[in-house]
Point group: C2
Chain length 339, copies 2
């Protein structure tokens, strides 16, 4: 697996490393004859010039790195499509890195991107408190950085997010309007503002209707189909009365829905179910799953447009920090519409 | 968005570019005092050394590039998870590039990876005939390359695939065993062996049961929910009698299933439906979707293991070419089980 390097070309021609490097970069100090010999040898040995090394000079690679927790969910893959579309139209290539919600993987991804000298990093973080340190390093190095969906508020980094407080509010309000009263909330145990805001919206809607939010009605865990199933099982085991489930994520809602149906509990007649994120499967299941849409493609496009605008500025980090906040859209479906 | 370059350090210290570059690479010709000054200045200016440039010498970045058509499907994201798990455990970082089945994007992804000097490329191609040219360049450059699921047969590249002929055969055989006779096949118009092989398996099973395969019973298009819907609509419009649909991909099967139900046609009683790829939603829909599982995580793990084994060889391309072929697993569900 030996690959041709500048050293191989230098050895072949019996010249110095520096001569070959400068010849490949068309340096004026190197004669036309030497350049021709270097190029001929490079071609013959199948040498591929490291454009990134030459980009040390221009500081440009036209590659953007995107960091996401996972591309398994419609949410992230759809936002990434929106970003890709706009960036590709503007001559950029996109590299993706999945963290799997792991901080060490996230740091590794950032290192890989910095080493590849990407022109910028667009990220949706795994943890705000713990991620702050290494994202701050990116700012210090003056590498353009932009957050989408999950941002770290205390850093001077532009962002595109949705109004998660409003999203939690309208989802809960919808359940209340349908007549549900004992609404359980299933949320994440991760340190992320998006989940805290959805939770805050849920509590505000309950309060507005004069309804209590006892602690046992909020369950926290790693959002997943399994967590949704386990949560409903726990509620049933502990005989906690409830007539609706609002999960902060669709797979969790799907798990809750599955277990309710398996236990012979009718959805939406006995228990209403509301998810979050408008995953593709939600429209296919029976009953179809009510959810909140986060305008994913639009979020991706606006993320890319904001990024392109800001890297056009003289100084990325001295430009006015912009924070775009999109509105959530309620998608009521059969799982929360009794009649 | 100015980033510190070697030039900035050189200017600051009033030395040449070459002196700074060599100092950063610990070149013996540079004095200890100069090295110390360069390092101090580099640190003060927040310069991040391009490890990739230094890796020109070692030829190692410990980064592997993966090229996939799309990460929207469970199939590819699940295989990638399998690859990532094994590669991460072995100290590699994974960069992903989505082609969206576009050849120009595929070429761009390969260029980006080569410029980043990845240690190797693992790819699932968009078109065999048209992709052969640029994948051949990767072999010529001696950059390790491995195909998974979709391979280009004429290139000397190892691969991990499934037996698609057998998969098409068992899927069709299952429908025949359930009593279906007029089985329609929905397949891709892409130039890919995987689809041709599934089609060949379908025809062989039909033939074994003495059944004809008239041309109008096979519809080709861009596999998608929309194509599945349009195909069933076309069959109904043209009054072509059929009692089962075998789609070469799950979203297409889902589209067919949706339209059948919308037209009041009972599944599986009147028409059976069989998909392919075991997408996550298949188990959630009603009736649940029969499909063929491709052992995705295992495919990913074996892909990574084969890759690691081969890059350990002296000469990647002179090592014996290995082609691992996995068996498909039939997953019969409600959509093809009348009774």
């Amino acid at each position: 697996m030996k690959r041709t390097t500048i050293h191989d070309i230098a050895r072949e021609l019996d010249v110095t490393f520096s001569t070959v490097a400068r010849a490949l970069n068309d340096h004026p100090a190197i004669s036309v004859a030497t350049k021709a010999a270097v190029l001929e040898t490079a071609k013959r040995l199948n040498y591929q010039q490291n454009k990134l090394a030459s980009s040390l000079r221009s500081g440009r690679t036209n590659v953007i790195g995107i960091i996401v927790p996972s591309l398994d969910t419609s949410f992230f893959s759809s936002v990434v499509h929106g970003i890709e579309k706009v960036m590709t139209d503007n001559g950029y290539s996109i590299l993706l890195y999945q963290t799997g919600e792991s901080l060490s993987q996230e740091q590794k991804g950032i290192d890989t991107f910095l080493q590849s000298r990407v022109d910028g990093i667009i990220s949706s973080v795994s943890s705000e408190a713990e991620g702050a340190g290494f994202y701050e390093q990116i700012c210090k190095r003056q590498v353009p950085l932009l957050f989408f969906d999950r941002a770290i508020g205390q850093l001077p980094v532009p962002s595109v997010t949705i109004n998660d407080y409003q999203a939690g509010f309208v989802a809960t309000e919808h359940l209340l309007q349908q007549g549900y009263r004992r609404i359980v909330h299933l949320t994440s145990d991760q340190d992320l503002t998006i989940f805290k805001e959805r939770f805050r919206g849920y509590k505000a809607a309950m309060k507005q209707h004069g309804l209590p939010v006892p602690k046992k009605m909020t369950l926290k865990g790693r959002l997943s189909l399994e967590f949704g199933r386990a949560s409903v099982q726990q509620l049933l085991d502990e005989k906690i009365p409830f007539d609706a489930v609002f999960a902060a994520e669709d797979y969790t809602a799907m798990g809750a829905l599955q277990l309710l149906l398996e236990k012979g509990i009718k959805v939406p007649e006995q228990v209403g179910v509301m998810g979050f994120a408008n995953e593709a499967f939600g429209a296919f299941v029976t009953p179809s799953l009510s959810t909140v849409d986060q305008q994913t493609v639009k979020m991706g496009e606006m993320t890319a447009q904001l990024f392109l605008k800001l890297i056009g500025e003289k100084d990325y980090y001295k430009a006015a920090q912009e924070h775009i906040v999109l509105d959530p859209i309620l998608i009521p479906r059969a799982s929360s519409l009794p009649k």
